[in-house]
């Protein structure tokens, strides 16, 4: 199966949009990276416009994969992971709490 070539459009995702999205997902980007991603994103998303060919007017979107309904288990107390075990991976801590830089306001 050869991938179909969709008609070329004037669709673009420019570097400013890339930088905006990068900040929303908390990725620090350099200017040259934003330019490169801009070209790639344009090509990728434009290719995916192929889906516009498909009539989905009366189609219900898929929302699960395995046909399962809500799964319940008995509400029984079970041992959890000891605090010291998961705290071992916390990069900045005082032994009991996770430490992060300032969240609100100024110091």
């Amino acid at each position: 199966m050869t991938p179909p070539e969709p008609a070329k459009t004037d669709f673009t995702i420019d570097a400013d949009m890339v930088k905006h999205v990068a900040f929303l997902v908390r990725l620090g980007l350099q200017e040259d990276e934003a330019q490169a991603f801009s070209h790639q994103f344009t090509a990728i998303i434009d290719y995916f416009h192929l889906l516009n060919e498909v009539d989905t007017q009366n189609v219900i979107p898929a929302c699960e994969t395995s046909n399962t309904r809500s799964v319940m288990r008995p509400d029984e107390v079970q041992p959890g992971m000891p605090r010291q075990d998961f705290m071992k991976n916390v990069p900045h801590q005082d032994g009991a709490f996770v430490q992060v830089p300032l969240v609100f306001g100024e110091e």
């Binding site: 990725l27 991603f37 830089p101």
Partner: protein, 488 residues
């Protein structure tokens, strides 16, 4: 044949007869790994001490003669996205380079219960994002059949390791071909299980509605033995399926005569390497000789599988990878951070590679207000149609046959400059995951001296049928027994 080359079945026979100990087998495997690894680079971590401890425990179990399973004493390794308590689990990413999970994935606990011996963790494309293993943040893995070529991805380390006899089997993980595509490139038998057949608890998520853990091994028999140990409901994973697990090994011997094999015409239209197409056609004739009925079927939305797969992947991966923020585990770049946003920005810039950044951003883009309906929701609607295609096809046949990739393994560096071209190499394997159906990759020939893989696709929970057909095929062919020359 040397000890490290033994299949699960062969090694089990010797272990059960006490002609071989697990310590001997494990030691031979570790020695072979250390000798071969500089050429192949399949492992992020080799856990020698843990392996020998587990091997001694297995030998004890064998001596007592109780609770023996087909996997007791058998050495294996897993893709590095599967959590292993006390063994670092990196997803081949800088952001998890020093992360040591405080718990085991359910599949690791189940294999430990069966007595299998963990040798280490396999290299992969970072967070499973890639088709060649070249997106590992650490190093490239080389295809044992030609060291200048990729092993495929994203379970590239696992496929290369099994092909090079570095362990009797592996657990891979398949989000959109990540078991089957590298299995095909490396001449390995690999099974993408039905979504929910195997618990995902402890698997570091890429796409929570696609991800499926499955075995990669020497043949269908060995895959059945591994699946037997890992399949079944797990209360830690609410999407794991209830109901009994079939006896996969017992079912392998059932006759295949009369089974109906569908050939989806959309997969055979054009664009396939001639040697790949002729290998698949030869395999189809073999199915006919085995008494199976061959019929053409249609999966009319096949060409839309790739955009559906990638759009849903971008969206779910973007959400899943939000947890890597430098606060609770993994890399944390806090120097000079004036506030928590700086911490996030610095950590994620330093910790993620370009492909991961690309997909996180594309995910946020397709989920954002104004684009959600056009991309994400549209993809989920076409996903329904893809699924209906499979349902209609399985009314006419018991399994479908198709290639796993239009070409054999490509050269390292050949596709790294253009992400879209790399995505297109997944064109035959991605449609199964949005539908959740199982698929078994079987070695079926060679083209220009590189292995060719075919996949059998079945309806939900029909792993027993796929393995049965695979076993029958491998009983009359030798492709799966071919080993790469480079190591001899």
């Amino acid at each position: 044949m040397e000890l490290h080359e033994l299949s699960i079945r062969e090694a089990h026979d010797l272990l059960a007869k006490k002609q071989l100990s697990s310590v001997e087998l494990t030691t031979a495997s570790l020695e072979h790994i250390h000798k071969t690894e500089p050429h192949i680079r399949a492992f992020v971590t080799v856990s020698d001490d843990l392996a020998l401890t587990q091997a001694r425990q297995a030998d004890e179990r064998i001596r007592e003669g109780t609770n023996l399973t087909p996997l007791t004493g058998i050495p294996f390794a897993v893709k590095d996205c599967i959590s292993t308590k006390a063994v670092r689990t990196t997803c081949s990413s800088r952001i998890l380079e020093n992360y040591v999970p405080p718990y085991n994935a359910t599949v690791i606990d189940r294999l430990a219960d069966a007595g299998a011996v963990l040798l280490g963790k396999h290299n992969m494309d970072e967070f499973g994002m890639g088709s060649s293993c070249e997106n590992s943040a650490f190093f490239n893995t080389h295809n044992p059949w030609d060291l200048e070529r990729v092993p495929g991805g994203s379970s590239g380390g696992s496929a290369a390791a099994v092909a090079a006899s570095m362990g009797a089997f592996a657990l891979g993980e398949d989000t959109g071909g990540s078991i089957r595509m590298p299995a095909g490139f490396c001449n390995v038998t690999g099974l993408k299980t039905t979504y929910g057949r195997v618990s995902r608890y402890g698997l570091i998520a890429l796409v929570s509605s696609f991800d499926s853990i499955g075995p990669m091994a020497r043949d269908a028999y060995d895959c059945a033995a591994v699946l037997q140990a890992i399949a079944g409901q797990d209360l830690h994973d609410a999407t794991s399926l209830p109901g009994p697990v079939p006896d996969y090994l017992q079912n392998l011997g059932r006759p295949v005569k009369g089974l109906r094999i569908g050939v989806p015409k959309e997969y055979f239209q054009s664009g396939m390497e001639p040697g790949v197409e002729s290998s698949i056609q030869t395999a189809i004739h073999k199915f006919e000789e085995l008494g199976m009925q061959i019929r053409e079927v249609s999966l009319p939305h096949t060409q839309y599988g790739l955009p559906v797969y990638y759009l849903v992947l971008f969206a779910e991966a973007s959400a899943n990878l939000a947890r890597f923020d430098g606060t609770r585990f993994g890399l944390s770049v806090a120097e000079g951070a004036e506030n928590v946003i700086d911490l996030y920005l610095q950590t994620r810039r330093a910790g993620f590679g370009p492909e991961v950044k690309r997909r996180i951003m594309l995910g946020a883009y397709v989920l954002s207000a104004g684009y959600y309906d056009a991309y994400y929701l549209k993809a989920q609607k076409v996903r329904t149609l893809l699924r209906q295609d499979f349902e209609a096809a399985f009314e006419q046949c018991d399994a479908l046959v198709a290639p796993t990739c239009p070409t054999t393994a490509f050269k390292l560096g050949e596709k790294t400059d253009d992400p879209l071209t790399m995505y297109l190499s997944d064109i035959y394997v991605v449609a199964t995951n949005p539908a959740g159906v199982p698929s078994l990759c079987l070695p079926c020939g060679f083209s220009n001296a590189m292995p060719v893989g075919m996949q059998l696709i079945g309806k939900h929970l029909s792993e027993d049928v796929l393995l049965q057909i695979g076993h029958a095929y491998q009983s009359v062919t030798d492709w799966h027994k071919m080993r790469p020359e480079v190591l001899k």
